[in-house]
């Protein structure tokens, strides 16, 4: 696997892995090449298939924890649920803008006066006050006063206009009723005239039939002329009657149409106010409707589709009364919602308070009850709301370091924010990414590029801004650059016997010798030996620091046996030698004696050295080995003496 190592375009790997992890490039769109490809063609990239459970778990948790919106709000569907009723929420940005504008605003003093005017109107229209025409007129006049306030937005004028329109139509209908009565009287007169003329014509016809003489014939001609004139008059009278009948019919149809039109306009405006969540105006207009129109006209004829969307899954027959009830219920619910917000805030549950204030704001955006939330609390809600949105953005881009700081801010803003749980989740995700980078470095150093790439992609996926990823890339680039000169450097170091130099530059040389099996083998041997030497040096120094110089010597002696020429090792050895001189002298004499087959003398020296340092590993092994040689020597001597 080392053979393919030097031909890797690390930049390609890193960039492609990053792109795949970020979703910029679909993994199946990336070029896949077989593992048996020609090494000179480079290493093909294919995105790893393994996902990150940690990352997904964190994302789900973060989306929920950092989402300041209430559960009642569904920005994907664009709706707000309230007691089974669905309002159009618009998109999240629009709602956010309106909500932030509310949090930035302060309760105005004029709102109190405006609220009093509306309350007066509602009281006057209340059925309990048995309102009469004068009361209605008083309430109607107050509407113009209410419309003068900015807070009203001119909606009171709309109510007043609707009422005035209804009254005007009623007045017109009264005038038409008078005209219709007059026409009916004219029609009766005309009907009598027409009937009279018909009777005269019939009498003249009968007289003509009875007269046959000439004298009578002359007289008959005279009467025929009279008869002909009577018929023409009857005809014109009939035309007058028909004209009167048509006028009456026209008046009747106009009256009916005008009444229907007034009712529909009124109902449309009530539904419109409900949809706009202007519950006070809906309530006032509905009250006017109940008082202006008779009981048989209370069923809603318009806005059925809007109401069906407003109250889904309902087959109720909507009436003005039901809309009035809903408006009152909404006003009351906003009042209760504001109470809940203030209570939660007083108990330090600001996160809950923020959720409730959003619901309450959306439902009662145009109601005065929201003014009970003081300015200072609005600012605190705004800070928390903006911080949560920012934390949500940071979580989306997986900027865990920034997110940790933001959690600290959120913790200060809201005591009930689950900071500990989120920190633990972040730590877990960061650890997973760090471990993946570490594993990628291990795979890279071992030459397993495919696994290194997979681990790196996983690290990026879990934590794209992980600083160790940049370190990994920098180190990889440095190694790739150094690899071009590595062969010459390795040969020079090996020739000089500078194994420490080889070990120090092992990473660069590893890249350089990736395709050279012979040198690579030598490199691995040197690395193994020097790694052991370094470990022994470290252990020896630790023993010396603890005052156990004999143990330190024994460890450095093992390092000496591994590589007698290593400079760092010899420095430690020279530093230790004076402290264990007698012990070392005995061991040296033992080694010399053993080398010259004077085993008994060697054994003697080992025993004396062991008396100095009873736990000596070198002495124990030497005694075991040499005592056997001594026994063999004795056996030879016994055998020689017997001969």
């Amino acid at each position: 696997m080392w053979r393919i190592y030097v031909n890797i375009s690390w930049a390609q790997i890193v960039v492609a892995a990053f792109a795949a992890a970020q979703g910029y490039v679909p993994s199946n769109a990336l070029p896949k090449q077989p593992q048996t490809q020609n090494p000179q063609m480079g290493y093909g990239f294919s995105a790893p298939s393994s996902g990150s459970f940690e990352s997904e778990t964190f994302q789900k948790m973060a989306q929920k924890a950092f989402d300041p919106s209430s559960d009642s709000m569904d920005f994907q569907e664009g709706s707000f649920q309230w007691k089974g009723r669905s309002f159009q929420l618009a998109n999240q940005r629009v709602f956010r803008a309106r909500f932030e504008r509310f949090l930035l605003a302060s309760p105005a003093e004029e709102a109190v006066a405006y609220g009093q005017v509306l309350q007066q109107v509602e009281d006057l229209l209340s059925v309990g006050n048995l309102p009469d025409a004068e009361t209605l007129s008083e309430a109607w006049n107050l509407l113009f006063k209410a419309s003068e306030y900015d807070r009203d937005g001119g909606n009171a004028s709309i109510v007043a206009n609707q009422v005035f329109n209804a009254w005007r139509i009623r007045q017109e209908m009264r005038g038409k009723a008078i005209t219709e009565t007059e026409l009916q009287r004219v029609r009766s007169l005309q009907q009598e005239i027409v009937a009279n003329r018909n009777r005269v014509v019939e009498r003249l016809k009968k007289q003509k039939e009875r007269s046959n003489s000439s004298k009578e014939k002359d007289a008959a001609v005279t009467k025929e002329i009279d008869s002909s004139q009577s018929g023409q008059e009857a005809y014109f009278r009939a035309l007058d009657l028909a004209e009167t009948e048509a006028k009456i019919a026209l008046l009747e149809s106009q009256a009916a149409a005008t009444a229907i039109q007034a009712k529909l306009q009124f109902q449309s405006q009530i539904v419109s106010f409900m949809m706009q969540r202007r519950f006070h105006h809906a309530q006032i207009l509905a009250s006017f409707y109940q008082l202006i129109f008779k009981g048989s006209q209370q069923k809603l004829e318009v806005g059925k589709e809007e109401l069906n969307a407003f109250i889904p899954n309902s087959d109720l027959s909507f009436t003005v009364d039901s809309l009035l009830f809903m408006a009152r219920e909404a006003i009351n619910d906003v009042r209760v919602g504001v109470d809940a917000v203030l209570t939660a805030e007083s108990e330090g549950r600001r996160l809950i308070a923020l959720e409730r204030v959003q619901e309450t704001f959306f439902l009662g955006e145009h109601l005065l009850e929201l003014d009970r939330i003081p300015t200072q609390q609005r600012r605190q809600f705004l800070d928390l709301y903006r911080s949560m949105l920012e934390a949500q953005e940071l979580a989306n881009v997986k900027d865990y370091q920034g997110l940790r700081e933001m959690i600290g801010t959120l913790e200060e803003l809201a005591q009930d924010f689950p900071a500990g749980r989120m920190r633990a989740s972040i730590d877990s995700a960061m650890s997973v990414s760090d471990m993946s980078v570490f594993a990628a470095a291990q795979y890279r150093n071992a030459g397993d590029i495919k696994s290194a790439r997979e681990e790196l992609a996983n690290a990026i996926k879990v934590w794209p801004t992980n600083p160790t990823i940049r370190d990994f890339q920098t180190e990889t680039n440095r190694l790739a650059t150094a690899s071009s000169q590595g062969v010459q450097i390795f040969d020079d170091l090996l020739k000089r016997g500078d194994r420490r130099g080889i070990y120090t530059n092992r990473m660069e040389l590893g890249f350089a010798l990736a395709n050279d099996n012979e040198r690579k083998q030598k490199l691995m041997q040197v690395v193994d030996v020097l790694a052991r030497v370094d470990l022994l040096i470290a252990q020896s120094e630790e023993m010396a620091n603890q005052g156990d110089y004999f143990a330190a010597w024994e460890l450095i002696q093992l390092a000496f046996e591994a590589d007698a020429d290593d400079a760092p090792m010899n420095r430690v050895r020279a530093k230790l030698a004076p402290r264990v001189a007698k012990f070392v002298g005995l061991l040296d004499r033992a080694v010399d004696a053993e080398a010259t087959s004077r085993y008994a003398a060697a054994l003697n020296n080992y025993l004396i050295a062991q008396d100095i340092y009873p736990a000596s590993r070198i002495c124990r092994i030497g005694i075991e080995r040499v005592s056997q040689s001594v026994l063999n020597l004795a056996a030879d001597q016994l055998q020689a003496s017997q001969l």
Partner: protein, 126 residues
């Protein structure tokens, strides 16, 4: 004891005294075999064992441990000589049927053989 009393002794009393006298003579002769050798110079031996090759000494030491054992050859022991802070390896051939236990003290007749081997020729507890 006067002459009269000597006359009163029975023959078996004379036999008993003779045997006792003979035993004392034998014991004196045996002790002389160790006494004619010098004490082993353990300190000097450690410095240069080759200088002592072929010499015989008497070594008084305490058994420390057994290092090797071969029933046909013998055993290698580490002993702590009297007045010495360090142990010394010795070889006891199998032909010396002595039960040697750690901690026991022995007086040993030794000779230094090839390779600095301390060869025990005889030993006895003391």
């Amino acid at each position: 004891m006067n002459m009269n009393q000597l006359r009163d002794l029975k023959p078996w009393h004379y036999g008993l005294l003779g045997a006792l006298f003979l035993g004392l003579i034998l014991l004196a002769l045996k002790g002389d075999a160790y006494a004619k050798f010098d004490p082993f110079p353990a300190a000097q031996f450690s410095e240069s064992s080759a200088d002592f090759l072929g010499n015989q000494y008497v070594l008084r030491a305490q058994i420390d441990s057994q290092l090797q054992w071969d029933p046909q050859v013998g055993r290698i022991l580490a002993v702590l000589p009297d007045h010495s802070p360090h142990r010394l390896p010795i070889f006891i051939p199998a032909e010396l049927p002595e039960n040697v236990l750690n901690g026991q003290r022995y007086e040993m007749l030794i000779s230094v053989k090839k390779g600095g081997l301390v060869y025990v020729e005889d030993l006895r507890k003391y």
